[in-house]
Symmetry: C2
Subunit: 221 residues, 2 copies
DNA sequence: GAAATTATTTAGTTTTGTCTAAAAATATTT
DNA sequence: AAATATTTTTAGACAAAACTAAATAATTTC
């Protein structure tokens, strides 16, 4: 497999994440995501198209080709493995790992990554609960349910968290919620979208709609 | 401390290594070391001079300033810590670590490096026996003696190896010589600079002058 | 459906890091 | 001390990755 520049990789990864939601990605969306200007995106898309990593017709938006997708999964694999390493081995906290992994992910030595994976015991998810692609680019795709969409009185388990700030970490630690926590919603309040949730034997307590929006669960306990 | 580009870092590191031997480094030497052209070196030296990392007057060669030296030690610290990590934790062999560390050394996040150091147990030397600078840039400077310069019948301990090829590794493993091995020279042969050495209780055996040239020792056992 | 607005692309620059070819400085021979 | 050879620098070019400003296409509004 060929090697790509850091800039190319950052573009590919951003398209991958954006097209999850949108299907096809627009120039402005990507420019916004990468804190760059639309003109720069057009330039890069021409380049990635020439390398057959994106499908792109002027004014039509773009999406990754199969090859582009494979490249993206490689980058995401490296990113999440390093995040896991930083949290698990170096004891970085949850909100600090992303930034460092942004640099480490661009060291794309296959043997390094596969040995790191093995050393870490082939972890399935990163510290934020996001799945880690395996050496073949296979990634778990259990659809995650936003806590705001979970029905009342239905057992569920926290699977991931979308915001990665130290502020949300502080709040989650205070509420004793982390990935793997089993919970049920007792009551939802329409007015401010806050809700009352219950964890095991503990008394039910309240969380804001804003917090709930950033927590994802899967059914079952 | 400021951040430098990968190219700047590679130049700084190369000057550091070359000036160990030469005192002052020339344009051609550095171009040769970095597989680049003399004209490119001149350009970079102007830049590093402007950043006060090298002392340089046209046609006079160059050497690192105090600041340049500190930057170099930071790079070498990262390089050797990653080499140790790769060998010790990921079970890379001795001859494979350098190449991978060449990339990892440019991820210059202070907290990452210091936590890695701690995680590794503050190792003093890398897999090739070269000393690892501490967080303050302090580096052990025990003068290493080339095995060819060790007097006969004088107890010594292998401290480092300069060549890092898989070929020398194979030979050293076969001869059961590694860093920390205690040995004595029994006889030196002028003709081809080969020598007979003795390790502990084992029978004395012969090594070539070429091999001896790449082994460094310190006095004592 | 024309006008206004927004999104995207094009054209032309800039910075970084490299290169080649030519000029200039320095070192080595005779 | 010339002549020759070597080393280093300068000048000019190029590719990558970004930018600004202007032009053009697409979309939305009236
Ligand atoms: Mn991340
Ligand atoms: Mn993550
Ligand atoms: Mn090395
Ligand atoms: Mn080393």
């Amino acid at each position: 497999m060929l090697n790509y520049s850091t800039s190319e990789e950052n573009h590919i990864k951003a398209i991958f994440h954006l097209q999850k939601q949108d299907g096809t990605v627009t120039t402005n969306e990507l420019a916004n995501e990468l804190n760059t200007k639309p003109a720069s995106i057009t330039d890069m898309m021409k380049k990635l198209k020439a390398k057959k990593l994106v499908n792109y017709q002027p004014y039509q938006g773009f999406r990754l080709t199969n090859d582009g997708n494979k490249v993206a999964l490689g980058i995401i694999r490296r990113h999440r493995l390093w995040e896991y390493f930083l949290a698990e081995k170096l004891k970085f906290s949850w909100d600090e790992v992303h930034e460092v992994a942004e640099d480490l992910e661009h060291v794309s030595n296959k043997k390094l990554v596969d040995k790191l994976d093995e050393y870490l015991g082939f972890p399935r998810v990163d510290p934020h609960g996001d799945p880690i692609p395996d050496a073949n680019g296979k990634i778990e795709t259990t659809k995650k349910i936003c806590l705001t969409d979970l029905p009342v009185n239905t057992p569920a388990t926290v699977s991931s968290v979308s915001d990665q700030s130290s502020e949300i970490l502080e709040l989650l630690e205070h509420k004793k919620i982390s990935i793997g926590t089993k919970l049920e919603i007792r009551k939802k309040f329409e007015f401010d979208h806050s809700m009352e949730i219950k964890i095991r034997q503990q008394a039910a307590f309240n969380i804001s709609g804003q917090l709930a929006k950033n927590i994802f669960v899967k059914y079952g306990s």
